[in-house]
């Protein structure tokens, strides 16, 4: 039996829990990154490397937080949710809408996050679950996701317009850490992001529900046979995915300062990259994947023209899938 199922069913396990196994991988990753940073410092100077590292960690936040929901859904339900990026947009725009009614920004954001979580759950109820029951093919799921992405994005645009919207937060205050600088809001995003992901990762590892989710990730049919209430776990997955996506969208909007309805879709591929890189189904993987992509993109500007930044992410994705398709904290099988 697979580890997730063992853990969920409460059976005594001889094999170590997944979280312990993942520590060596995390340590290896950290070692590789630090070594790379040191090497680059010889070429470009420690200050440049340090600053770009900070920049990279900030963009890693958006990617990581958005990727967690994606990876959970992909890992358990095998749905390539192309609509996930637009859940980020939804979170941001709901925040604007609610704060236009009078609430200050952050309370409005909290409401928006809750609302998006509920919407994600409702979408599962209306769309995804009936399709699961009918045992539809990957292609159908994929097309529904695309259709949903289009509907969400353009409905937002219908009501809010396609022009850029300022968020009205202070994007200028900078925190100086020696020779490095970091925007205050960006630092906030960093902290909130890490806390959120850690919370999710710990919940997945230690709570009963978390273990059930990991069981689903391994094998849904078998999990049901073991007596796990898969329906409830799936609903929770969507709530978490939707909520985290909304949170990522709000943080992105706050830190970047202005958004338009396309932004979620634009970073969707980056989210996929982070998820796949980190290993599908693993929240820590999403964090690791986000870090690697964020750092790689910012570090690339030290050596290549900045215009190539977006390509770096995709190139890493392809290389990863060819060389290490299970990802850094990999779980599922990747080869057919």
């Amino acid at each position: 039996m697979t580890r997730g199922l063992e853990a969920a069913s409460g059976a005594p396990t001889g094999a170590p829990e997944r979280r312990f196994e993942s520590i060596p991988a995390a340590a290896r990753l950290a070692a590789v990154l630090i070594a790379a940073a040191i090497l680059m410092s010889f070429a470009r100077g420690p200050i440049a490397v340090g600053q770009t590292t900070l920049n990279g960690l900030v963009s890693a936040r958006y990617l990581a937080l958005g990727a967690v929901g994606l990876t959970l859904v992909f890992g358990t339900l095998r749905i390539i949710n192309f609509a996930h990026g637009d859940l980020l947009t939804l979170g941001a725009y709901l925040t604007f809408g609610i704060s236009a009614l009078g609430l200050p920004f952050w309370p409005a954001a909290a409401v928006a996050v809750a609302l998006t979580a509920v919407i994600a759950y409702a979408l599962d109820f209306i769309i995804w679950e009936p399709m699961r029951r009918a045992r539809t093919s990957t292609l159908q799921l994929f097309l529904v996701a695309i259709g949903l992405a289009i509907v969400i994005r353009y409905t937002i645009q219908f009501f809010a317009g396609s022009q850029v919207r300022g968020v009205g937060q202070d994007v200028l205050t900078s925190v100086n850490l020696g020779p490095f600088h970091l925007g205050a809001l960006q630092a906030l995003v960093l902290v909130v992001g890490v806390v959120a992901i850690a919370a999710v990762g710990l919940a997945l590892a230690f709570t009963r529900l978390g273990k059930q989710i990991r069981a689903l990730s391994d094998n849904m049919a078998l999990a049901e046979v073991c007596g796990i209430d898969t329906r409830r776990a799936v609903r929770l997955i969507w709530l978490i995915a939707g909520g985290l996506a909304a949170l990522a969208g709000v943080l992105y909007a706050a830190a970047v300062g202005s958004v338009n309805p396309n932004f979620g879709f634009f970073i969707l591929l980056g989210l996929f990259t982070a998820a796949v890189l980190g290993g599908i189904g693993s929240a820590y993987g999403a964090l690791a994947g986000g870090i690697v992509i964020g750092l790689a993109q910012e570090w690339s500007t030290l050596f290549f023209n900045t215009r190539w930044k977006p390509v770096v992410g995709f190139a890493i994705l392809i290389v990863m899938l060819l060389v290490m398709p299970r990802g850094i904290f990999g779980g599922g099988r990747a080869r057919s």
């Binding site: 095998r78 990957t138 292609l139 259709g147 390509v311 190139a315 994705l317 060819l322 099988r333």
Partner: protein, 311 residues
């Protein structure tokens, strides 16, 4: 004037034909080989740009550049396939879309491909042919709309490709492909080189994408990366599912219907602002996609049984 404008609908016909050729390739991959190819727009980009660059930079005649471009695109398809066909289906899809985006970004940024300025001027020979053909057509009374020669060329090619693919499917090669889609392991057990067949399927799709790209390039007279956005591929999939899974004839029907619908919606006159009208068009397309996928995934001409063979 207005809704029944001839020029407009001839233009829609050209676009429908282009999507038809493009989606024939997708259908071969998805409907007949079980490959979720999300990078078709990338192959089209490679092929179209190859043709454009050969004509403009290397001075080749169009008649030579076009077949050469097909070869180049097929080579790209082979490269992508060799690298990623061993991955499972959804990962393969992600790799192809990443490939498509890389191609687009590279052509947007690289000087050799014209970068942000794109490529222009490769269509001189085509335009000469087009005006010659227009005169002939005007003589028999079809000279009304300027794009009629292009329309005829696209649709003749589309129907030719359709016939060719149908014939291919009935051939021994096609039978093996069907076996692979139904049960890959059984086919492999019977000694068929599954990998080679998948590779060939991808290569043919890349060739079809290039043909579609050629007509797109002639229609628009300007090669620019945003024409090869992944949304082109997504729209192609919408055509596929509308027309019918595993049905080549369905592709033609789907292309005509979907293009007619999305373009015809431009004339929808509601008391909305321009921006809202623009958004509404897309919302309708998205809803159609969702409803089709949920309630009639086999589309108009496909069969449900075929659809569920590969879950």
């Amino acid at each position: 004037m207005s809704f029944f404008d001839l020029d407009f609908w001839v233009g829609v016909g050209v676009v429908a034909g282009i999507y038809g050729i493009f989606t024939l390739g997708l259908q071969l991959n998805v409907g007949f080989t079980g490959l979720i190819n999300l990078g078709q727009a990338g192959f089209m980009c490679v092929g179209a740009y190859a043709m454009g660059m050969l004509v403009v930079d290397a001075g080749w005649p169009l008649g030579l550049a076009f077949p050469a471009a097909i070869v180049i695109a097929v080579a790209a398809g082979a490269l992508v396939g060799l690298a990623s066909l061993r991955l499972r289906a959804d990962y393969f899809g992600i790799v192809t879309i990443a490939f498509s985006e890389i191609v687009r970004y590279v052509f947007q940024n690289a000087a050799f491909a014209g970068g942000n300025q794109g490529i222009i001027g490769y269509d001189a020979e085509w335009r000469a042919f087009q005006s010659w053909a227009s005169e002939r057509l005007a003589a028999i009374g079809l000279g009304e709309a300027a794009e009629v020669p292009l329309l005829v060329a696209v649709w003749a090619t589309l129907l030719l490709c359709l016939a060719a693919l149908r014939a291919l499917q009935l051939s021994p090669w096609g039978r093996v492909l069907k076996a692979i889609r139904e049960d890959e392991d059984a086919a492999a057990a019977l000694g068929k080189n599954v990998f080679a067949f998948k590779l060939q399927s991808l290569g043919i799709a890349a060739a079809l994408a290039t043909i579609a790209g050629f007509f797109l390039a002639m229609n628009v007279t300007y090669l620019y990366p945003s024409e090869f956005d992944p949304s082109f591929t997504f729209f192609g999939y919408a055509v596929l599912i509308l027309g019918g899974f595993a049905s080549y004839g369905g592709v033609v029907v789907g292309a005509v219907l979907l293009c007619a619908l999305t373009e015809g919606l431009r004339f929808l006159d509601l008391p909305l602002s321009a921006g809202q009208a623009g958004s509404l068009r897309f919302i309708i397309v998205g809803l159609i996609l969702i409803c089709l996928s949920m309630f009639r995934p086999q589309g108009l001409l496909g069969s449900k049984a075929e659809m569920q063979l590969r879950a």
